[in-house]
Amino acid sequence: MKKDEIPQDPGALGRITKEVCYATDASGKYTTELSSGWDVKIQALNVAWEDIDKRIAVAKQKVLDGQASPIYFFMEYRLMDVALVADYTGFWQWQVKRHLKPEVFKGLNDTKLQKYALAFNTTVDDLRTMTVHDDRV
């Protein structure tokens, strides 16, 4: 890629930092240049997030319909799967799967809920009520 072809499209990362790119100058020699982002990459990221947002919405509805516990919602919200939730909480995978059931979830004590809250970076109250605050972390 030539230096003057380095894309400068505005995207999420561009708000925080620019990226270093290696590209060639007029004499063909490699040099570095900053890029604010590339539309092709920004769109790829958008596609991924649309899919994630869809998953989160489905999970939320399932919890509201009484088919799953809020742990299911937070699992999708934090982009995790059962294995990862088990890793973060220290529960076995079969336990996590059990806790995904609303009736089992209702019986969990605060110590157990606290482990989930920590894994999802939220509080026990917010976990119970499926409340999220704007920032994702």
């Binding site: 999420a12 990362l13 925080i16 990226e19 539309d39 790829a44 990221l45 982009l79 990862l84 972390v137």
Partner: protein
Amino acid sequence: MTEFEHHQAAHCESGVTRDLLNTRTNGKLTEPLVFGIGAGLFFANIPFIKINHGPAIAFRTLPGHIFRRTCRSLGIPVVRKKFFSKERAKAFLDECLANGQPVGCQVGVYYLPYFPREYRFHFNGHNLVVYGRKGEDYLISDPIMENATTLGSYELERVRFAKGALAPNGQIYYPKGDVELSDDRIKRSIVKGIKKNVYNMLQIPGSFAGISGICNTGKKIKKWRDQLGLEKAKLYLAQLVRMQEEIGTGGGGFRYIYAAFLQEADAYLPGHGLIEISKMFTQAGDMWRTAAVHAAGIYKGRLSSQEDFDVMGDHLIRIADVEQQAFESLKKIKWQIS
């Protein structure tokens, strides 16, 4: 205070390695040199692993390898530690910092507070340098960021003990002691790095890695539309592009770094035709970009026919061809180190 200077880099691990070695080696190493000596270029499409419900495709070698290979090749002793206990991980880090030793840390990006949320996935192969401490805040040099930053002690612990694939387990690494790097040593390491990379791309067994991996991925892509349905195939292509253009490698990324490496290597080892081969990698980088643009046409919904998927697959097969020629040329070189 620790002697350390933050520099931005195109790729986290080669950036961390360069910055950690900088003061130890009198600033002789650049990011491309580190990337090349560490044999950073790779391709792997691991069929039985899924990341975020999509294919796991890597465009560079496993996290940790660039640092390890570079140091070993240059004869620099290394300290590397993993921990079971968070307390001991913190104590060891604090001890290093108290001794004025900046350290490389492998971390997960999901809970990194300074990353934009759109970029936070459960990817644990990120690298940064911790170079100091101010009260409960740690001074952080993340090579993909323009400026140095800080992390609270809990924030740092959480990313050092991120869970899932490639879990860092609080991993810390740093070069031990100063080294006098002779040009001769660098020359030998360059040759060694190139040979290692030739092996990884041309000769590695199995059909999912190296050149044959690129080729096979191209063939697979042609089947995605039928096998997965259009929606999922779009997601997969978006994931391919995201992994190719991962944070901090903007634009065919690793191929360009490798091309830059060969140019620098030519200054050390002239007369081996490295400049010409460098151009082949530039071409490969450009082709990866063109392929990404085509993929974008598909995932943005502008293109959707089977023919569009065939074109996409053929792009990869052609890239495999160019990279194969490039590595074959590197393989044929009769090295003369004066």
